[in-house]
């Protein structure tokens, strides 16, 4: 299967990446080659095969419901926010969100 530069631009938009113009043409070429490789799968009949999401076909272990309350939640928050690019009054800041 091939992919067009337009599809590249749309998919990039979904992933919040900017790839357009000449770059999209170039990327489309390379990704087209990857898709060609991937398309080798299509030759196999898998109609009766259950998809496998986990190699061990394991099931999930659930956690007992218990809240962990830090002794000083404000301190913990402030530590976690030291690595944040922009915060104020304990909030993470982003450019204005318009609904």
């Amino acid at each position: 299967m091939t992919i067009t530069p337009e599809q590249i631009a749309i998919t990039a938009g979904l992933a919040k990446l900017k790839i357009d113009g000449d770059e999209a043409i170039e990327v489309a070429k390379r990704i087209g080659a990857i898709l060609e490789l991937v398309d080798q799968m299509q030759a196999v009949d898998t109609s009766n095969v259950e998809p496998m999401a986990n190699s061990l076909d394991a099931v999930q272990r659930l956690r007992v419901d218990a809240a962990i309350q830090p002794e000083n939640p404000i301190d913990v928050r402030d530590t976690l926010q030291q690595i944040a690019p922009a915060t104020e009054d304990g909030l993470y800041l982003v450019p204005k969100v318009i609904d």
Binding site: L14, L62, G90, Y92, K96, D99
Partner: protein, 482 residues
């Protein structure tokens, strides 16, 4: 043209677990911003979700309550999109294999006594998002992730409702079920129960569904009702003026009482769902289901039935009293304390709910407890006070002046049942009202009943309402008819 309204609801119910669905952070409401968001909730690189067993148990109990198929294999999927209140860049939710399958919720219709089954397409577990605070931070938006990861069940109905009244009845029923089960506090003011409404209209008699719009994030019964009304009106106006309905997401603006298109949701979205590789399939065995079935509390419908049978309440009274678990329990406790279900029902639905409404209180905030109200009603039943005096005592109880007995004692409100004293009062009134006595005696027996009211009134006035009305009537009749 006659239009028919078609409504389907998506109800988000926050589960009242201690910790979040995938992390150990507390779910308590109202903490300082981001103090209940740990490294998992913040989606720090390398962190992993571990699902909360109680969230599954709660969802299964809901499924059992609506006679639904329980998903024996339940799978979490990732719904991928970017939004600042969604730290991982995807919401962990369920799509192909939800925990609760097809079920039913019955609601009353506009026709008295008629019940309607609303089909539940499915209900699934998912995580709540954080909150965006739009107050001005120098033109920026502040993000609080305390709510991010709070467990939700999303209940998706089929488009089976035909009026806003049915939609409200449905929501009230969902509210009743989840609070009866104790899986949610159902507190709409804190966002514990929120609703999106899919609304469309079609010519009456038409089978094909019209194009629907989705109204987002409705968080009070009043707003839901109003939002549906204005949206239906908008759709009718649009169609009747030759326009077309666009399938879109709309936001209800309660200030302007209108719905408007949400631009942010209009961008082409492709959520790229796929099974979450960090969360393996959850297998629910029959034993777990049976254990939960065994501990299911009484549900609204069962309680309604029982109230009618055990307390001889009317269907109407029983349905009002069982709408909320807390009210039903209040009523039942009061009844146990006074031994008179009919009186309790009248008091809970009358004086008590009147007082609570007037002061905008929930039953949990009632200044008079069920036990205290039961004690008050007990004093009516044993003739210590009359119903009228009881209202006075109730007011005083609401002002924290003490228990019923203390107030009756302190204010000297005990009913006068001493027949000698009542006779004296009766004699005095008869002696002071010769005209009325003559009129009474001249009247036909069937008119007398009405005329006796004058004398009763005079006596009650003289006794400051404390004379036992039964005795007053009896003595009066004897003397006047003599």
């Amino acid at each position: 043209m006659q239009w028919e309204t078609v409504i389907g609801l998506e109800v988000h119910v926050q589960l009242s677990t201690q910790s979040k669905i995938f992390s150990g952070s507390s779910t308590a409401f109202g903490a300082a911003p981001n103090t209940q968001a740990d490294v998992v909730d913040l989606a720090l690189p390398g962190t992993l979700p571990v699902a909360n067993l109680q969230a599954f148990k709660s969802a299964i109990m809901f499924g059992l309550a609506i006679d639904a198929e329980i998903g024996k294999e339940s799978v979490f999927e990732r719904k991928n999109y970017f939004y600042p209140d969604l730290p991982k860049g995807y919401q962990t939710t369920q799509l192909e294999k939800p925990i609760v399958g097809l079920g039913y919720i019955s609601i009353p219709t506009a026709v008295e006594g008629e019940i309607k089954q609303v089909r539940i397409h499915h209900a699934h577990l998912e995580e709540d998002a954080g909150k965006s605070l739009h107050e001005d931070f120098h033109g920026m938006t502040g993000i609080d992730l305390n709510r991010a990861g709070t467990p939700l069940i999303e209940i998706v109905s089929e488009p089976d409702m035909r009026s806003s009244a049915e939609a409200i009845a449905f929501l009230k029923k969902v509210h009743a079920i989840v609070t009866y089960l104790g899986i949610s506090d159902g507190d709409m003011s804190q966002g514990s129960l929120r609703c999106d409404a899919n609304v469309s209209i079609r010519p009456m008699g038409e089978e094909k569904l019209g194009t629907r719009t989705e109204i987002k994030n409705l968080n009070s019964f009043r707003f839901i009702e109003r939002a549906i009304h204005v949206e239906v009106d908008r759709q009718i106006d649009l169609l009747e003026s030759g326009g077309v309905i666009k399938q879109e997401t709309r936001l209800y603006d309660s200030d302007k009482n209108e719905t408007r298109s949400m631009r942010s949701k209009e961008e082409a979205n492709d959520y790229r769902y796929f099974p979450c590789p960090d969360l393996l399939p959850v297998i629910i065995d029959d034993q777990t289901i049976e254990e939960l079935r065994a501990i299911m509390p009484e549900l609204p419908e069962q309680k309604l039935q029982r109230f009618q049978e055990q307390f001889s309440l009317s269907a109407y009274d029983a349905s009002i009293l069982t709408e909320q678990r807390s009210i039903a329990e209040f009523f039942e406790t009061a009844t146990t304390h006074c031994g008179d279900a009919k009186l309790s029902a009248n008091w809970v639905m009358g004086e008590l709910s009147g007082y609570l409404n007037k002061h905008d209180l929930t039953i949990e905030q009632s200044p008079v407890s069920a036990e205290q109200l039961g004690a008050l009603i007990g004093r009516i039943k044993d003739n210590t006070i009359s119903g009228k005096i009881a209202k006075q005592v109730f007011e005083a109880m609401c002002s924290n002046e003490g228990s019923a007995d203390e107030i009756i004692e302190a204010k000297g409100l005990k009913q006068v049942s001493d027949s000698g004293a009542i006779e004296a009062m009766v004699d005095e009134v008869i002696n002071n009202s010769p005209d009325q006595v003559a009129q009474y005696r001249a009247a036909e027996p069937d008119k007398r009943k009405k005329l006796i009211g004058f004398f009763v009134g005079q006596i009650m006035k003289a006794s400051k309402g404390q004379a036992n009305p039964g005795q007053v009537n009896q003595i009066l009749a004897k003397k006047l008819n003599a």
